[in-house]
Subunit: 341 residues, 4 copies
């Protein structure tokens, strides 16, 4: 069975497996104070040009997003997200469980625009009743977006200006950041993220690790006693070195910047070939996810040979599915996939 | 200055003021165990034909709505509301503060339709990823709605069937219930609400009281230890008799059923007259609220003589405002109002 | 039946009843923006010598305490209270429901001592594992205490110094503050509270009002957007003038400073007389509460004629009960009470 | 440097490292639906004689404890724990962050007794004000306890009877369960836990795994939609197979039952030797933790050669420290340790 259902189906990247194997028989300080975690932090600070950044290694995207919300928002504030945003739909209400409302805006190609956020805030403050409403407190976006599209540097700078105008914080969910960094059209560096965001994370789980997301707060004076807050949310790993050793390796020789490259190339090949064959792609993104609309009959016939992700119905007789490549997808895998179309 | 801005600007109904005055020098059991509260409860149970109902007198609508959500939902569930619903917009995120998501659906004339809720639930359970999403757990609606419109008995019965099919609870916010009960077209009785809802409330604050909402749970086995939960939310009045004495009087001789009548009649007169004069009314409702779209210049010129509620912008040069009557609005008040149009 | 069970059994003080009656037929701005509330605020700021204080009128003590906790603490902090404190025992876990731990210390005569708090904080920061523990963030105390005892000005100044040393906030629950202010031995003025506390409240419900607690934040820059937070907790009264008009009257001619005087005098008389008769009083306080240990047989024999509060068992054959006077307790009431002993 | 500071300092057990290595290049279903997780679950159900048990693999003890609290308690209930319990002290208020109070009782040798819990509940329900207080809803205990001591089968049966009498749930934190199961005096089997508890967990992190706790709910009708609740708390691993593969191996050949044996034997040896040498051990437990009181000078002199855990001060000049062995502690390690004493 071919499995293109997601980028989190696979064992870890060989280099990370090797790094984990080398922990055999060793002892480490607990709770992230170990040498691997400390070295990984130093490498991330260096990559981000953010010498003061506080960095915690968490175990999943939803956990990281809810923690970011918990520490960056005050109780009367909500988070602005695209209506397609992961926090708005697919996290089982984790944000609301922290007590905060997700304020959704229509997306453009998966993205929030500075103009839409600015208009929302202007309308909010013009509403005479706004003291009775949830204040916009933060922008949540993901790079790449749920649709695999990318914010350009100028997009992010424009959003930052809106944040400064309306006292919003800016948070970037980087669950698949490696695939953004490896995309041809990308012009946003980790240092740009650190300069523009109040917090963001380097995704590990979907980018070659077994588990682990590196949550980065460039200016930690904004998030006092973050270690304790992480613990309070059940997000502190006793053996923090498990995440640390993986991020240490991902950041060594800046592997993280290249680990997504072949995934993007294979995705580009799939996109081109499906287009040539006349398949409808509702979004054409430059990263590792391909969205294609299939006749339900066609989809049914594929089910025995191919695993893909259900995305959404496209009318009554068609379904949009997602095909995802990852760092390990081979040309032969793609050949086998394309032979089914 | 004429004030038609809302139905909660005024001192209490004379009969309630009199009842409060008669408490002078008396002592009562605390925390709602007093004779007035007990008699009010008995009257409500009788009116609702709900002999087992548990009834608590709370102090405001947002408080009642958040408590209902807290006790009727499980952590993984959210509340379905019209996108115009009070809980969705104007309660400062009180529902999310209880940890629950508000799942909004487009309204029709201010109302949720059974068809829309049913379709939402069907789509939800058909989505392969629904285990990662907030489950629909309750329908929130208000009678009358935010737009002053009414659910008919058959509307509510249809919604109840959807609830039964998808294991949803049904909750009715009755902040202005007296105005619904007094409307010509209304065919929903308190006993209907008790038969169809898991919980609802008789609004006091907007219907003649100083404060107080009578929260009714027809089958209290569903909300164990509700007294303690009320206390935990800071919603328990030490001198519960203050609310009790007002509801005792509101329910005596079924005053609650008639207290909204003149307000509705005055509102009908305003609606007719504005229509004759050619004013645009985006919603025409049968209760005590009138919505009218005004040129911004017109609105500005009214500001010195009339207080109304800002509702929403209507394009760039017009604004929708709300005019509200109450049990004390006189014909002379309405004459003075209409003279301004 | 004589009822000395509490100070919240009675209708409002005649002056407040009169003030409420005078609202008849009038209209007020909603949500606390009315003239009565504004005048009450001005009077309180004047009494407290706190010209910038932000003041909200809430409806009960538990509600006020949980709001104070919610706005003054960060998520990783807890509140230090005496093990007898109201928040520790009798608020149904309202504080924990806001997400915060109550850190209890042994009381001395109902009071927290600066020495005990200081020792607790020193031990906390000396514990190598304290980053895994709840940080002390606030001191909760009540004036008078649960036992009716009083903090002196030097007590409070010493506690403030501990707060400054360990970055704690200081919050005073003034549910019965009028009885403290009227006590012979009291040397703490409202202005002292405003100068020393981050927040406190003037209790209304137990001091002559139907409902209402005046929550005072001397420096409101510490509690941004408090109005919205109040709303979010369901604590905002639509007809805020109901509380406003009562506090306006309580503060007029500084009635609040004298309203508890006769209650304290009557309580003093009860204490003396019970002592003469040889009854055991486990605490002798200078305010309106009397604690007396009775044989269970004696207690049973009183039940038909007298209502008092159960406090706690005193061994197997005795029970401590609380007798409370209030602003309306007469000498004849006390005569009748004492005739039973 | 010798490190006996805890049982979570070390890389994974060789058998688990090997199992992880064998995932190389493979793909798995996400979110715990993979074959390893399913096989691990089957083995656990078999070991526990609990064919209907629902099992989730979480990543840490605090996370598991807070989830158990969240799903087993209603909002008005708290959890009874020993005052030494991990949830009471060392989880940064994670339980309170779920909205629930920890109700502490004095421990006996680290344990809660059925008599103490029963007395607490009896007192609670006899208190006339108990409707204003947090209801006891669950017993939290750990096996072994924080002090390494064990509940016997009859201890647990007695606690279960108290649970049945007062409608409490019973939850067992098994962070170090492997060391309990390997202790000479242990008479509690996994099947006993499944029969007696509403929920419990097999600890992985401290018992040979990199990460992972197997949370077991013997009767899952009590915890509806647990998968979604896990997700909502940020506790769902996308690559659930990482935990699954480790528990699959831990349960294969019932390795979990024996993995703690040598740790206990080495601990026994340390205990005997320290006793012979005259060191004071405040608690003598039968599992892998040794508690010893040292002169502060002695402790200071050890610091360069040995890492142990600070436990608590023992007067002014002594400190209690904890020495922990694990599955990998060798006789040579112990020789080196004992040479320092």
């Amino acid at each position: 069975m071919l499995d293109f259902s997601s980028d989190y189906t696979r064992s870890a990247h060989p280099a990370l497996l090797e790094a984990i194997a080398q922990t055999a028989g060793r002892q480490y300080l607990p709770y992230g104070a170990d040498v691997c975690s400390e070295r990984a932090r130093a490498r991330i600070r260096d990559l981000c040009d953010a010498p003061n950044a506080e960095i915690h290694f968490l175990t999943g995207g939803t956990q990281t997003n809810l923690l970011a919300t918990a520490v960056l928002l005050r109780s009367f504030e909500g988070v602005i997200a695209a209506d397609t945003g992961h926090v708005a739909l697919h996290e089982a209400g984790a944000i609301e469980h922290t007590g905060h409302k997700v304020l959704t805006l229509p997306h453009e190609n998966g993205k929030l625009t500075a103009a839409a956020v600015s208009q929302y805030c202007e309308n909010f403050y013009n509403d005479e009743n706004h003291d009775h409403m949830v204040f916009p407190g933060m922008i949540y976006l993901s790079q790449p977006t749920e649709y695999g599209t990318l914010y350009s540097l100028s997009d992010l700078q424009a959003l930052r200006r809106v944040c400064d105008q309306y006292k919003l914080r800016l948070y970037v969910d980087g669950a698949r950041l490696a695939y953004a960094l490896a995309a041809d059209e990308n012009d946003v560096s980790p240092a740009d993220l650190a300069a523009l965001c109040d917090a963001f994370y380097f995704g590990g789980t979907k980018c070659g690790a077994f588990c682990g997301e590196a949550f980065v707060v460039p200016d930690p004076t904004k998030t006092p006693q973050l270690f304790t807050v992480v613990k309070q949310h059940g997000a502190l790993l006793a053996k923090g070195f498990l995440a640390g050793v993986q991020f240490d390796r991902l950041m060594e020789d800046r592997l993280y910047l290249s680990v997504g490259r072949s995934a993007v190339q294979q995705a580009n090949r799939i996109r081109s070939c499906l287009q040539e064959k006349g398949y409808l792609q509702p979004v054409v993104a430059p990263t590792n996810q391909i969205f294609v609309s299939l006749e339900n009959d066609k989809l049914a016939s594929l089910k025995e040979k191919l695993r893909v992700s259900f995305w959404e119905p496209d009318g009554d007789s068609r379904t949009v599915v997602r095909i995802a490549t990852d760092w390990a997808t081979t040309g032969a895998d793609v050949d086998a996939l394309l032979a089914l179309f």
